[in-house]
Amino acid sequence: MALAKTVYDLLFRRTSTFAVTIMVGAVLFERVFDQGGDVIFEQMNRGKLWKHIKHNYENKEE
């Protein structure tokens, strides 16, 4: 509860800080969401992507 009050007083109480909070939150959320999505995609396609099988072909050339 104390945390909620601190967050409310610091971030939500003024419209200016609320807007700044939303903008900064959007940037952080974008990073987390996009990179998390990429990680999940690569987990589901493990062994099928070029960067997973690239070393097989590089060894042949050398």
Partner: protein, 286 residues
């Protein structure tokens, strides 16, 4: 009992009209008959007191609100007894007050409890919910706008076609080679020391389109220009003309070894594209 009231009000107005209209009253009277409704009252209604109606016939009838205080506006008022009127108003007696408990928060369900105790947690939750929604909304809007804008930019194959890489070792000194770049001829000229000296010494006052030779080249050995005559767009011939550079056969424009117009109808020097040397033997144009 609308019939009774209608009859009364029309007769009141009728009377005033009849009093005022004089000779026309027999004709005006035709409008005074009230049409009986299909429902018959159990006990025939009786109009008891005429002075109840405070009609002001001189008040102009402009809109519905003008009638306020002059005409009954609250649903059906029924007179059932012979002795007097017993108004029965149905409005606000049969309407159930809706229960919004399902839509209220748990903390404020009890009307006898102070809402101030829970106000902090409630407003924190509200602002948090709003903030999270706004964050997701901003992210979604940014993604949509970015996708739309990037869909208008050039695709990868177009970008790949827009550059040309030239091996300079294949071009002997004093020779000019023509390449195709963005659908236009591109001249790459390997200049001799003598040509470099001559072009560097040219006085700017002799030139129609004054440009220094060192501003038109990155390395003095290599002149790279677009091979389109600035007059009407012909392709000039290299190592020809009075100045030893380029000569346009269409209308006789003479360019020097730096691609500058020296004689003939062309107004401008040959255009120099953007290019860079990643190493000594390669040039990338575009």
């Amino acid at each position: 009992m609308r019939g009774a009231q209608g009859r009364l009000s029309s007769s009141v107005s009728m009377m005033s009209l009849a009093a005022r209209s004089g000779v026309f009253s027999p004709y005006m009277q035709a409008t005074a008959f009230a049409v009986a409704g299909p429902l018959k009252p159990l006990v025939p209604g009786v109009v008891v007191k005429a002075e109840k109606f405070l009609m002001d016939p001189k008040k102009p009838f402009l809109c519905r609100e003008t009638l306020s205080g002059q005409s009954p506006k609250t649903g059906p008022a029924v007179t059932v007894s012979i002795n007097g009127c017993a108004g029965v108003r149905f409005a606000h007696t049969d309407i159930k007050v809706p229960d919004f408990s399902d839509y209220r928060r748990q903390e404020v369900l009890d009307p006898y409890k102070s809402s101030q105790e829970s106000s902090e947690s409630r407003r924190t939750f509200s602002y948090l919910f709003t903030g999270v929604t706004a964050v997701v909304g901003v992210y979604a809007a940014k993604t949509v706008v970015t996708q739309f804008v990037s869909s208008m930019s050039a695709s990868a194959d177009v970008l790949a076609m827009s550059k040309i890489e030239i091996k300079l070792g294949d071009i002997p000194e004093g020779k000019n080679m023509t390449f195709k770049w963005r659908g236009k001829p591109l001249f790459v000229r390997h200049r001799t020391e003598k040509e470099i000296e001559v072009e560097a010494a040219v006085n700017l006052s002799e030139l129609r389109h004054p440009e220094l030779d060192k501003d038109r080249v990155v390395k003095p050995k290599w002149v790279i220009v677009i091979g389109v005559c600035t007059h009407l767009g012909c392709v000039p011939i290299s190592n020809a003309g009075e100045y030893g550079g380029y000569y346009c056969p269409c209308h006789g424009s003479h360019y020097d070894a730096s691609g500058r117009i020296r004689k003939g109808p062309a107004p401008l020097n040959l255009e120099v594209p953007y290019y860079e040397f990643p190493d000594d033997d390669t040039v990338i144009v575009g």
